[in-house]
């Protein structure tokens, strides 16, 4: 499924447009309406995460018992909870902590995982074997279970949540980075560079890293989605973000006692998680179409058909 080379186009009596250059990456990304919509949603989520407190019509802990369990109305768009707090305001303000946990933990997983993966893939030999067995051992533990074990050790707090999720998603980055490094390492331009006596540090930074960014960017977007889900699960269990700070997961925990009485208490915080996670997943998918060379040539071949 290779892309027609320019030389082929010269010989081939195909129409002129067939010989056009590769589409720029951004045009493929913007050509997918789902990706564009998801990016717009993420932009809104980021604005809310930064300015949630300014946008919220009520204070997050304004207790108003006489107006408890009110259904959605013009005053309270998402209704009120069992203490009369405005759910819309709480959902807005809780956005920041979810994004913070996701960014910090995935940032940790990214840095450690890519370092381990690139070193493992480039060095090879016993170091590669040892590092990859460690990664295999970590993969034997289910994600949420490993996170719970880490929280059981450190005690529940925002820091433990970030660290737990970060550690849990490190191995996947290590595997992706290693696989890409292995593929790039045997390319002629790397081997020529090695023959010319370029040091390993320079080869890693100049040749390997720039050429493995595609799969890693895709993995980052997908991991952000899973990190938000994990944080919500942990907060739901009472082991993540701690009250009085509002979090989507914790709001769902509070909603459990009012499922038949006040559907809005569970629907809106859950929808916030769902929409954010879906947006990250769809952006990840859209980026994969462009950044994964195999997928990309497939798409370009289809366009030409």
């Amino acid at each position: 499924m290779s892309i027609p080379e320019p030389t082929v186009a010269v010989v081939d009596p195909a129409p002129a447009e067939e010989a056009e250059e590769r589409l720029p990456a951004w045009r493929i990304v913007l050509g997918n309406p789902l990706t564009v919509i998801s990016m717009a949603v993420l932009a809104v989520v980021i604005v809310v995460a930064i300015a949630g407190e300014l946008l919220a019509p009520y204070g997050i802990n304004d207790i108003d018992v006489p107006h408890a369990l009110q259904p959605p109305s013009a005053d309270h768009w998402f209704g009120t909870d069992d203490l009369g707090r405005d759910i819309f305001s709480r959902v807005l303000v809780a956005t920041r902590v979810s994004m913070e946990v996701a960014l910090v933990s995935v940032g940790f997983a990214f840095l450690v995982g890519v370092l381990v993966g690139v070193v493992s893939g480039y060095a090879g030999g016993w170091l590669d074997v040892v590092l990859m067995r460690v990664v295999d051992v970590m993969f034997a533990f289910p994600v949420i279970l490993l996170a719970l074990a880490i929280i059981a050790i450190l005690g529940p707090s925002l820091f433990s949540t970030m660290l737990a999720i970060g550690v849990v998603y490190t191995p996947i980055f290590a595997r992706v980075a290693r696989a890409s490094t292995l593929a790039v390492r045997v390319e002629p331009f790397v081997q020529v560079s090695q023959t010319m006596g370029t040091g390993p540090g320079r080869i890693l930074s100049r040749h390997i890293l720039p050429n493995i960014t595609g799969p890693i960017i895709v993995q980052t977007s997908l991991s952000l989605a899973f990190a938000i889900l994990s944080e919500a699960s942990l907060s739901f269990l009472g082991l993540g973000v701690q009250p009085p700070q509002p979090s989507w997961g914790r709001m769902l925990f509070d909603a459990q006692d009012y499922l038949g009485l006040a559907w809005w208490m569970s629907v809106f915080p859950g929808a916030a998680i769902f929409v954010t996670v879906l947006a990250f997943n769809l952006v990840g998918d859209g980026l994969r179409d462009v950044l994964d060379p195999k997928q990309r040539s497939l798409m370009e071949a289809r366009r030409r058909r």
Partner: protein, 318 residues
């Protein structure tokens, strides 16, 4: 079995043994790396010098580190995983007591998920690039993005609180009353199954797509074989091995991932056990549960790989 297969199995056994050893090291270290004194933390307000000394001795934490290492290894090999900090029961008996409920839930969830994934995945692959393929792909993205506990809450709201069709919580053993067992299983099973189904749909779609692109499918089609026969005899049959692999791995994933769903439905399985153990800082119980689930994961992976190699010679030759 050919010598190639035996060689492959032996290599795979050696590999699994190394990973298993790593898993045991991790679960052993869990209690060792707790900042502070794990016994003291676990006792909390129930602390007294006597209870402290008793629990420390019962858990073996008063012995030297090398002794503890050998005790733990010996215990794991003989199925003795220590004693719960909170209940005083042996960890092994507690785990065995809770295991059937989780097994029921995971098996039911897998059946639901596999049904969804087979229908949607095979359909999408056979209609690649059409509108229905796009719908299946987007639908699976939706399923992967839904927080499972939120879906559980929504199902309870509609089918338990509003309609009253199914109970919102609890578990009845199969041996006690099969009808009630099933009734209690529907909502948590659907919750687990839809998410698992969304994940498996993607894999099954690409597994079938790979078979569709094979030369023998084109040959069968070009010699005028009816599409139904091509689909059943050539495409679906050849996709069965990857589908089996995906199901095995997904089953192990479900077993370890049902914690939150079990909490939502007050399901008395391993997940709920781990949850209360983490809350109570009952370290021996946490260690035991994590070890059990990790070992199941390794065993399932091992069996799937070996089965794959027995059925498909290309695997063991590479």
């Amino acid at each position: 079995m050919s010598s190639g297969t035996i060689k492959f199995v032996l290599r795979r056994v050696a590999y699994s043994a190394v990973v298993l050893l790593g898993v045991i090291v991790v679960t052993f270290s869990l209690i060792q790396v707790v900042p502070g004194d794990p016994v003291r933390i676990a006792l909390g307000t129930r602390y007294s010098p006597e209870s402290y000394a008793a629990l420390r001795e019962a858990s073996g934490l008063d012995r030297s580190l090398p002794t503890q290492v050998f005790d733990y290894l010996g215990g794991v090999l003989t199925g003795d995983l220590g004693v719960s900090f909170r209940t005083g029961q042996t960890v092994t008996s507690t785990l065995m007591e809770r295991f059937p409920a989780t097994l029921s839930l995971a098996a039911f969830g897998l059946v639901v998920g596999l049904t969804i994934a087979l229908v949607a995945g095979v359909w999408a692959a056979l209609h690649e690039g059409t509108v229905s393929d796009a719908i299946v792909r987007i639908g699976s993205q939706f399923g992967v993005s839904v927080p499972d506990f939120w879906m559980g809450l929504l199902l309870i709201t509609v089918f338990a609180a509003k309609l009253g069709w199914f109970p919102s919580s609890g578990y009845v053993p199969l041996t006690e009353n099969p009808a009630e067992w099933l009734k209690h299983l529907v909502l948590p099973g659907l919750t687990v199954g839809v998410v698992a189904g969304a994940i498996m749909t993607r894999y099954i779609r690409s597994a079938v797509l790979e078979v569709v692109s094979m030369g023998y499918v084109r040959t069968a089609r070009s010699k005028g074989m009816p599409p139904r026969v091509v689909t059943l005899r050539h495409i679906v049959r050849n996709s069965l091995i990857p589908i089996l692999t995906i199901s095995g791995i997904q089953f192990a994933t479900i077993l370890g991932g049902v914690i939150v769903v079990e909490v939502v439905f007050a399901w008395p399985g391993l997940g709920n056990l781990v949850f209360s153990a983490v809350q109570a800082r009952d370290y021996p119980l946490i260690q035991g549960a994590i070890l059990l689930i990790a070992v199941i994961f390794l065993v399932v992976n091992f069996l799937v790989d070996v089965l794959y190699a027995v059925v498909d010679p290309r695997i063991r030759l590479s």
